[in-house]
C-alpha cells in the first residue's frame, strides 16, 4: 500500500452487531425448510452400562413419529473422526449410536425422527432401554491406579497413551539448583458452553443427489470432508453451511455424532432433518476442556534463575477421543517454558480414559494449562526465595535482542519484548501504590492480593507441517463490475468479527470504503476450501490470505488502469475510490470504471484475462507468539471466602491490530472466561458418572456483575511471520487471566501461610483453606 492505512487500525464497530442485537441473525435453528422433521436422542443416564436390550416399539408407535434408529440401522456410518494421532495411543472406535455398552452419561443410543421437536422428545422418552449399570470411573487419578475399574473392557488399563517432551537436561538442571519447589496442581475439567448450543439441519435432495448441511461449526470444510466420508457420499455432493454461529471456543472445532446421523437420515428419508442440542445435552455431550492433574518441580538458583522445570501429568481424555483430543496436551508441553529462559524442561504425560465425554480444544487448548502451572510456580518460588513476583519474572525473561528466541521445548518465538509489557502494566497499575493499598488494608484486617501473569502463547495455527497438516488458510477477493468488493474466506468466524476486519484489510489495499466490501464465509459451495477459525488463526492466517488475494486483484486492476492511461502498471495507485497514475492526477478514473473495464473485456491488457477475482492460499512460516502481563487486584472476605476482583490491568501485545475494538472484545471475553475457570467453573461427577452440575442453575459462568472495568493497554511488537504483522488475540485473555486471578487470591491469603489452593476458588474452598490454617 502506498497510502497510510485508513481503515486498518481503526476501531470500527462490528457490522454483525445490529443484526445480532435485534434478533435478525440466522442460526441453524432459524432455518425451517418445508417438511422438516425433528430428531431427538435417547441417551444413557449412566456413566457405564451394558445395554441388555432396546425396545423402540412404543416410541415408533407414538403420534407423529416417522422413524426410529438404533445402532443396528446406523452401523454403516463411519465412527466419529479422530484427527490428531500419537504413536502407540489406543484409539477406541466411537460409534454413532451405542451398541452393547454406553461409556458416558449422555451417550446417544436411539434416535427418533418425528414431525415436531416436542413429539421427537416425547417419543425418545418412550424408548425402553434395559441397562445393566456398571461401575464407572470418573476420577483421573483413580482411573490410572492399577486394578481400577476400566472404561474399555477390551483394554488392559485406562492408560490411553504416554507422551513426553524434553529439552536440555532436567536432571542436571535440578542438581544445579539451590532450591527445588514442588506442587501438585489441577486444571479441572470445564465446559466451553457456547451460548448457541450445537445444531444441525441436513437436507438431501434425491433428484440432484445433493445434500446441504447447516451446522453450528468452526470448521465447515472439515465437516464436509469428514461427514461425507462417514456416510459414504462424495464430498462434492455435500454443501456445508455454517450460518451465524453463536460461539464455539473450540467446542465446535469438531465432528459430532449428530452431524453424521442427521446426514444419514436425510439421505434415507429425503426430507430435511433437524437436531438442536438442549443445554443439558450441551453439558453432557459437547467436548469439555482442560482436565489435567500433575506434579510440578522447578529448580532455581538463589537469585531466581530457573534451572529446570518438570511436569508429570495425567490428562483426562474421557471415554472416546474427538477430533483433537490427542493434540491438546502437546500444546501444554510446547508452551511449558512460557516467557522464560528455561534451558532444561521435561513433560511426561499419561492419557487416561474416564467415563466422561471427551476433552478437546477449549479456548487456549493446552496453553492455559501450561501458563497456569508455570505462573503459579513462579509465585510459589518467589515466596520461597523471598523475592517479589515481578523481580523473579524479570530475572528469567529473554531480552528483546534475543528474538527470534529458541526455546528448550523446540519452538522459535518470533518476536517479543516481555520487559516492556511488564513495565507498561506496572506503570498502569501503579504497582507501588497497589502494594501500599494492600498493606493499609491488611492493617485494617482486610485481605487484598495482587496477582501477576506474564504469559506468552502460541497462535496463528500454524505451519502445516507443524500441525500435522492444514495450517494454511484460503481467501478469494472479487472486485465486482460495479466496483464493490467481496471477500470469500476459508476461515469461519463465529463472533470474532472478521466480517468487519477483513473488509478493513481489503478497503485499504484497494482505496475504497470499507462499507463497499462484503465478507462471505462459512459456505463450502461459495468459498474456497478452507481450514477454519480456531487457535487464534482467523486474522493471522485467514487475514493474511485476504491480503495476498487482494494484492493479486489490485495488480490485475492496475494493468487495466495502465492500459487506459498508457502508463506503467507499477505507477498505478488506488485511493478514495479512484485509480490514478501516481504523480499525474489528471490520469484518474473511478474504481468502478476500471472494474467495469475488466468485466466488459472489450480491450484486454497483454497476457491478461477478463474478470477481477483472485484466490490465495496462505501458508505461514511459523506460529506467532503474542504475550503480555496481566495484573489483578482482589479482595478476599476471610469470613465468607468470597473473592472480589477490584482491578484488572492487562497489557497484551498481539502485534499489529487490524481493529482495536475487536481486539478488546476478544480480550474482554477471554479474561471473563479465564476468570470463570479460576473462581467457579468445574464439571463435577458422581460416582456413577452422572454430572452433578450440568445446568446453568448449578454451573456458574462468569457474569458481568462480578467483573471490574478492565484496564486494557497494549505494546505492539509486530511479527514477520505474516504480512499483517498480527499475532492473534482469540485466546490471550483466557490464557493470561486464570493464573493472574489465582495468584492474586493466594497473595491475599499469604498472611495465613497459604501458598496454593486448587482451582476453582469457590468461596467454600477458600474459607476451608483459611479455617485449616487457623486451626
Amino acid at each position: 500500500m502506498a497510502q497510510a492505512p485508513k481503515f486498518i487500525g481503526a476501531p470500527i464497530k462490528r457490522r454483525d452487531d445490529p443484526r445480532l442485537i435485534q434478533g435478525l441473525a440466522h442460526y441453524v435453528d432459524d432455518f425451517n425448510p418445508p417438511g422438516t422433521l425433528h430428531m431427538a436422542c435417547a441417551r444413557s443416564p449412566y456413566g457405564k452400562a451394558n445395554i441388555r436390550s432396546v425396545d423402540v416399539s412404543k416410541a415408533a408407535a407414538a403420534d407423529g413419529v416417522v422413524a426410529v434408529y438404533t445402532h443396528e440401522e446406523t452401523k454403516g456410518i463411519g465412527p466419529v473422526p479422530v484427527g490428531a494421532v500419537l504413536p502407540d495411543a489406543k484409539v477406541p472406535v466411537q460409534p454413532i449410536l451405542a451398541d452393547k455398552q454406553v461409556l458416558f452419561a449422555g451417550e446417544p443410543v436411539v434416535a427418533v425422527i418425528a414431525e415436531t421437536r416436542y413429539g421427537a422428545l416425547d417419543a425418545a422418552a418412550l424408548v425402553e432401554i434395559d441397562y445393566e449399570p456398571l461401575d464407572a470411573v470418573v476420577d483421573l487419578e483413580a482411573a490410572i491406579e492399577p486394578g481400577s475399574t476400566k472404561v474399555h473392557d477390551d483394554y488392559e488399563s485406562n492408560e490411553a497413551f504416554k507422551w513426553g517432551l524434553a529439552g536440555g537436561d532436567v536432571e542436571a538442571g535440578m542438581k544445579e539448583a539451590d532450591v527445588i519447589v514442588k506442587e501438585k496442581m489441577t486444571n479441572v475439567r470445564v465446559a466451553p458452553l457456547a451460548l448457541e448450543p450445537r445444531g444441525v439441519l441436513a437436507h438431501y435432495l434425491p433428484g440432484e443427489d445433493k445434500m446441504t448441511l447447516w451446522t453450528s461449526t468452526q470448521v465447515p470444510h472439515k465437516v464436509r470432508t469428514l461427514v461425507a466420508g462417514q456416510i459414504g457420499m462424495p464430498e462434492n455432493r455435500m454443501r456445508v453451511i455454517a450460518p451465524e454461529v453463536g460461539g464455539g471456543f473450540g467446542s465446535k472445532l469438531n465432528i459430532y455424532r449428530e452431524e453424521a446421523l442427521a446426514a444419514f437420515v436425510t439421505r434415507e428419508l429425503g426430507v430435511p432433518i433437524k437436531w438442536v442440542e438442549s443445554r443439558s445435552e450441551n453439558f453432557l455431550t459437547t467436548i469439555h476442556g482442560r482436565g489435567q492433574v500433575g506434579e510440578i518441580e522447578m529448580g532455581l538458583k538463589r537469585d531466581g534463575t530457573i534451572t529446570a522445570f518438570r511436569y508429570n501429568v495425567l490428562a483426562d481424555c474421557g471415554a472416546y477421543y474427538q477430533l483433537l483430543t490427542l493434540a491438546i496436551f502437546t500444546l501444554t508441553g510446547l508452551m511449558l517454558p512460557g516467557p522464560y529462559k528455561i534451558d532444561n524442561i521435561e513433560m511426561n504425560a499419561t492419557g487416561v480414559f474416564t467415563n466422561k465425554v471427551a476433552t478437546d480444544a477449549y479456548r487456549g487448548a493446552g496453553r492455559p494449562e501450561a501458563t497456569y502451572i508455570l505462573e503459579r510456580m513462579m509465585d510459589i518460588a518467589a515466596v520461597e526465595l523471598g523475592m517479589d513476583p515481578v523481580e523473579i519474572r524479570r530475572k528469567n525473561f529473554p531480552d528483546k535482542s534475543e528474538f527470534p528466541f529458541g526455546t528448550s521445548a523446540g519452538l522459535s518465538y518470533d518476536s517479543g519484548d516481555y520487559h516492556l509489557a511488564l513495565d507498561r502494566a506496572l506503570e498502569a497499575a501503579d504497582y507501588p501504590a497497589m502494594r501500599a493499598q494492600q498493606e493499609e488494608a491488611r492493617n485494617d484486617g482486610r485481605y487484598l492480593g495482587i496477582g501477576f501473569s506474564t504469559y506468552v502463547e502460541i497462535c496463528g495455527m500454524g505451519p502445516s507441517a507443524a500441525l500435522g497438516g492444514q495450517g494454511w488458510e484460503s481467501a478469494r477477493v472479487r472486485v465486482e463490475p460495479t466496483g464493490k468488493a467481496t471477500v470469500f474466506s476459508g476461515a469461519s468466524p463465529h463472533g470474532q468479527g472478521q466480517q468487519t476486519s477483513f473488509a478493513q484489510i481489503v478497503a485499504d489495499g484497494l482505496g475504497i470504503d470499507a462499507n463497499d466490501v462484503t465478507v462471505v464465509h462459512g459456505d463450502t459451495d461459495v468459498v474456497p476450501y478452507g481450514v477454519g477459525t480456531f487457535g487464534s488463526r482467523g486474522t493471522v492466517v485467514g487475514g493474511s490470505a485476504v491480503v495476498y488475494a487482494r494484492d493479486k486483484v489490485r495488480a490485475k486492476m492496475a494493468k487495466f488502469a495502465a492500459m487506459e492511461f498508457e502508463a506503467d502498471a507499477n505507477d498505478i495507485d488506488f485511493e478514495d475510490g479512484k485509480v490514478f497514475v501516481r504523480g499525474a492526477p489528471e490520469k484518474s478514473a473511478g474504481f468502478a470504471d476500471i472494474a467495469m473495464m475488466a468485466y466488459s473485456a472489450i480491450a484486454l491488457p497483454e497476457d491478461t484475462d477478463p474478470g477481477l477475482e483472485e484466490t490465495h492460499f496462505f501458508e505461514p512460516s511459523n506460529f506467532t507468539f503474542p504475550f503480555g502481563t496481566h495484573i489483578v487486584l482482589v479482595e478476599v472476605d476471610p469470613e465468607t471466602g468470597d473473592v472480589e476482583i477490584l482491578r484488572y490491568v492487562a497489557v497484551d501485545d498481539v502485534g499489529n491490530m487490524i481493529n482495536p475494538l475487536l481486539v478488546h472484545g476478544q480480550i474482554h471475553g477471554g479474561i471473563a472466561q479465564g476468570t470463570g475457570q479460576a473462581l467457579e467453573e468445574e464439571m463435577l461427577y458422581g460416582e456413577g458418572g452422572q454430572p452433578l452440575n450440568a445446568s446453568f442453575m448449578h454451573y456458574a459462568l462468569p457474569k458481568a456483575n462480578r467483573l471490574p472495568r478492565f484496564e486494557l493497554l497494549h505494546t505492539t511488537t509486530p511479527t514477520d511471520v505474516n504480512p499483517l504483522g498480527a499475532k492473534g488475540v482469540g485466546e490471550a485473555g483466557t490464557i493470561g487471566s486464570t493464573p493472574a486471578v489465582v495468584n492474586a487470591v493466594i497473595d491475599a491469603l499469604s498472611p495465613f501461610g497459604i501458598t496454593h489452593i486448587d482451582m476453582p476458588l469457590r468461596p467454600e474452598k477458600v474459607w476451608r483453606a483459611i479455617a485449616e490454617k487457623r486451626a
Binding site: L121, T640, F696, H698, P763, E764
Partner: protein
C-alpha cells in the same frame, strides 16, 4: 429441555380460578410468574396436566398502605417490590430480598406469591417474611384465611397452603418508631439462589435497647427458619457490634443444614452466623439512625 404437554387455562376471577383448581385437583398447578414452576416442568421434574394461570385476575397485584403497614398482592413482581418506595420505607429487608433475587429478567416476571407458594428452601423471600412476621392471606373454596409466616413454611417446597388454595396477598405490619431491617445473602453464583440469606427486623426502645427482633434464615436448612436463639440473646439490652457478632454465631448452630457440592453443611452453618451478624448489624444501624 421442553416440558411435557399440558392444558392451560386463564381464569378472569378468583372464584373461577378456585373452581378450576377444585375441578382438576392434584392434576392442576397454579401458574403465577412461572419462574419456579416452568424450569421444573422443563426439566420434567413436574408434569401437571393443567396450569391455572392467575395473571388475568384483577386485584391480585399491587402494593398499598394498610394500617400503617403494607399489603402486597400475590402477583406483584420482585422488580415492583424492589423499586417500591413504600416497601423500602416500611420494610427495607423485603425490598432488599426482592432485589437479591435472580437477575433483572427474573425479577420482572417472578412474583411474591409464586415464590412463597413454591417455598424453595433457597429462595430469598422466606427469610424476609419470617423476619417481618408477615401475614399471608390464602383463598380457598370456603373463603379466605390468614396464615402467619411462622406457620407458613412447613417443609422443602411445602407450605400451609391447602389443596385448591391460592395465595392472594401478604401483609406486613407497621415498622416501629425506631425500627430497622436488612437482608443480606451469599448467592450460589450460578443460580443466584441463597446459599445463606438472613433477614433481620428489629425495634429499639427509647434507650436504644432491643425491644423486639426477628431473624429469618434461608438457604441453610431444608426449610427457612427463625434464629430464635439469636433473637433471645439480643432482646432487652442495647446491642454492640461485639454482642451482635457473639449472638449471631448461634444462627446456624445445631441446624440440620443442606449439603451439596457448592456448600457443605458446616460452611452453611458458619455462613448463617456471619450473615446474621451482618444483617442484624445493618438493621441496628438503620434503626438507630446512625
Amino acid at each position: 429441555m421442553i416440558p411435557a404437554s399440558f392444558d392451560y387455562v386463564r381464569p378472569q376471577s378468583l372464584e373461577d380460578a378456585l373452581a378450576r383448581l377444585g375441578e382438576h385437583g392434584d392434576d392442576a398447578r397454579v401458574l403465577a410468574g412461572g419462574h419456579s414452576l416452568l424450569p421444573v416442568m422443563k426439566a420434567r421434574l413436574a408434569d401437571p396436566a393443567v396450569l391455572v394461570d392467575i395473571a388475568g385476575i384483577e386485584g391480585l397485584s399491587g402494593i398499598s398502605e394498610s394500617e400503617g403497614g403494607i399489603r402486597i398482592g400475590a402477583m406483584t413482581t420482585h422488580a415492583e417490590i424492589e423499586a417500591s418506595g413504600l416497601v423500602q420505607e416500611k420494610c427495607r429487608s423485603l425490598a432488599e430480598a426482592a432485589g437479591a433475587i435472580g437477575d433483572l429478567q427474573v425479577r420482572n416476571r417472578g412474583t411474591l406469591g409464586g415464590s412463597l407458594a413454591h417455598a424453595d428452601p433457597a429462595a430469598d423471600y422466606p427469610a424476609a417474611v419470617l423476619a417481618a412476621e408477615a401475614e399471608i392471606t390464602v383463598a380457598g373454596a370456603d373463603g379466605e384465611r390468614v396464615v402467619g409466616a411462622d406457620d407458613f413454611f412447613t417443609g422443602t417446597f411445602e407450605t400451609a397452603l391447602g389443596a385448591g388454595e391460592i395465595l392472594t396477598s401478604v401483609r406486613i405490619s407497621a415498622p416501629a418508631a425506631r425500627g430497622g431491617s436488612a437482608y443480606l445473602k451469599a448467592a450460589q453464583k450460578a443460580s443466584g439462589f441463597a446459599v445463606c440469606g438472613v433477614a433481620a427486623r428489629l425495634a429499639l426502645d427509647a434507650d436504644g435497647a432491643v425491644e423486639s427482633i426477628r431473624v429469618g434464615v434461608t438457604g441453610v436448612a431444608a426449610t427457612a427458619y427463625r434464629a430464635t436463639s439469636v433473637e433471645e440473646a439480643l432482646t432487652g439490652s442495647a446491642p454492640s457490634a461485639e454482642s451482635i457478632r457473639k449472638a449471631a454465631a448461634g444462627a446456624g448452630e445445631g441446624v440440620d443444614a443442606l449439603d451439596d457440592f457448592y456448600a457443605g453443611a458446616d460452611f452453611r452453618r458458619h455462613l448463617a452466623g456471619v450473615y446474621a451478624a451482618r444483617a442484624i448489624g445493618k438493621a441496628w444501624i438503620r434503626a438507630s439512625g446512625k
